[in-house]
Amino acid sequence: MADGTSVPVGVIASTPAATRKRSTMKRFAQRRSTIAFMLCLPLMLLVIAFVIYPAFYAIYLSMLNKKMTAFVGLGNFAFLLKRHTFQLVIFQSCLFAVTAVVMKALIGFVLAHLMHNIPGKNQRIWRGLLLVPWVIPLALSTLTWWWMFDPSYSAFNWVLNRFGFASVPWLGVGWIARFCTITVNVWYGTPFFMIMYLAALKSVPEQLYEASAIDGANAVQKLFFVTLPMMRNIIAITVLFSLIVTFADFDIVRILTSGGPQDMTHVFATYAFQVGIQSGDIPLGAADSLFMFPILAFAAFFVLRGVTRRTKEIAA
């Protein structure tokens, strides 16, 4: 497809006549961009076939009735919004994503600072240990968490009983179960924040700290006026990525609670799975999962706008 052996020959042969040179150069550029396009073709086909087309297909599906025989417009969306379960889903999805991302960002920030304090040669082993939660496939580690939350012979309850506290029905009561799903997500996602922040911390020039020390800045001032502004970009990107992934999370809730008790831990993804795949109401499931998109696009718009503005400020 792109052996390209004639390209340099063309370049060399184009020297004699100026007109001929221009046309050869043009042909060269054209050929170059044709090859470039061909190289991108597999990527485009993949994205169009399995991302863009399904996304539009989802919009179409969401406007059909359950048997997919009649067009109902926005009926499914209206139906969902009126349903109490779905209102819980919206609330829980936002609560889950926002709380988990904030917790991950904070703990990750603390961890990155602690790592930054210790000498570089020791960081590798500590980082390796802290990355373990992130390395194990999430679906599998959630199984372990489930077993630890088990009501009858739970590891956590055993510890609680040992210290004289009563057993806690971890996954049996709505708010506690919500807390558990968030805990697992924080446990899984914090290492990612840590390594991103650690890289950002290392990229802050040491002179800035020296300059601020000469100006008499204390540790808190250094944090707020040097470290955080310098890390703003990377914090924004990491939070955006994590927000998308957390918002779209499926594994934790599906395995830990399957949405129960009383549908209090359902998020968009698990509810769409239950409605669309398990109950076979594909249009309703598609409508449910489409609710994710505007929220994600909204978040992405704001974070990316902040990032580009900041990059321009630096460039100016």
Binding site: V7, I35, C40, L143, I244
Partner: protein
């Protein structure tokens, strides 16, 4: 007199130096202690997985003593799984799907990244932004329409559908990593190659891929991680145990109704986590560098 003042100043400096030094030492030890606490908390679930996997079913159902330690360690769970045909099938399916996914994803993303970073064509800028934006459409939004599409293609309940779908999860990020690495290669290098008579493919294989090897490793690990650990697509599209991959297989095969064979589940959990753990143990530095390179540069 001047000597005494000088002495005094030197003494003060020494004292301050000493206190600063002591402060640093305290900060260092404080960091180590805090990190140790975090490590212990973070490693509780893996530790518990290992402990449970070494327990016999009898010991688990007896429910006596501390659940945190194993009283009579046994390898019977591991032995059961290794000789259990279904588990072998899941493992084999996972390996096939992952190897193919990684191969397909890497070919697609290396070619595209080379083209986007170096050659360019009308609209290539839009395409690279567009690739990045596919992250706004997560799999949990796509799995329902894809259920219909996979059904139309006739790949429902066949692990081949995963080979088609997993690349969509891996390719955008792999392309992004590779674009970053490729564009950091000096332009003089490919001009020199062109003058020496190399074609684009030669340029890619002789110069770009060897130079960007760390990025290639990072992207490969990412593709591997995604396809080894994904749960939603196989759960939605695979039903029979001869087609299942590890994540779904463990969840649906070893949990039958209300009977939880926790020892076996945890042993399977460990066996399935082994490949990622081994890969990360050796290649983590590349992966971390690849992940953070793009973000810190931007």
């Amino acid at each position: 007199m001047s000597a005494t003042t000088m002495n005094g100043a030197a003494g003060r400096r020494a004292v301050r130096h000493k206190s600063l030094h002591r402060q640093r030492t305290w900060a260092l030890w404080g960091s180590y202690i805090a990190l140790a606490i975090f490590v212990v908390i973070f490693l509780v679930p893996p530790f518990y997985t290992v402990m449970t996997s070494l327990k016999s079913s009898a010991e688990i159902s007896a429910q006596s003593g501390s659940p945190w330690i194993v009283h009579h360690p046994t390898l019977e769970n591991f032995w059961y799984l290794i000789t259990y045909p279904n588990f072998q099938t899941y493992y084999l399916n996972s390996v096939i799907v992952t190897v193919l996914t990684v191969a397909v994803s890497m070919v697609i993303s290396v070619l595209a990244a080379f083209s986007l970073a170096r050659m360019g064509f009308k609209g290539s800028q839009t395409l690279s932004t567009g690739v990045f934006l596919t992250y706004l459409i997560p799999p949990s939004l796509l799995f329902i329409p894809l259920f219909q599409i996979i059904g139309m293609i006739g790949l429902i309940n066949s692990f081949w559908c995963l080979v088609l779908l997993y690349p969509t999860l891996a390719v955008p990020f792999c392309t992004w990593i590779m674009i970053g690495y490729f564009s950091s290669i000096p332009k003089e290098l490919d001009e020199a190659a062109l003058i020496d008579g190399a074609g684009y493919m030669q340029m890619l294989f002789r110069i770009f891929i060897p130079v960007a090897m760390p990025g290639l490793i990072a992207a490969t690990i990412f593709a591997f991680t995604v396809s080894w650990g994904s749960f939603l697509y196989p759960l939605a599209y695979l039903y029979t145990s001869n087609q299942m991959v590890l994540t779904v297989g463990i969840v649906s095969d070893l949990i039958r109704g209300d009977v939880f064979q926790w020892g076996k589940i945890m042993a399977a959990n460990l066996l399935a986590s082994l490949p990622p753990i081994i890969i990360y143990a050796f290649l983590m530095d590349y992966y971390v560098a690849g992940l953070t390179a793009g973000a810190t540069k931007g």
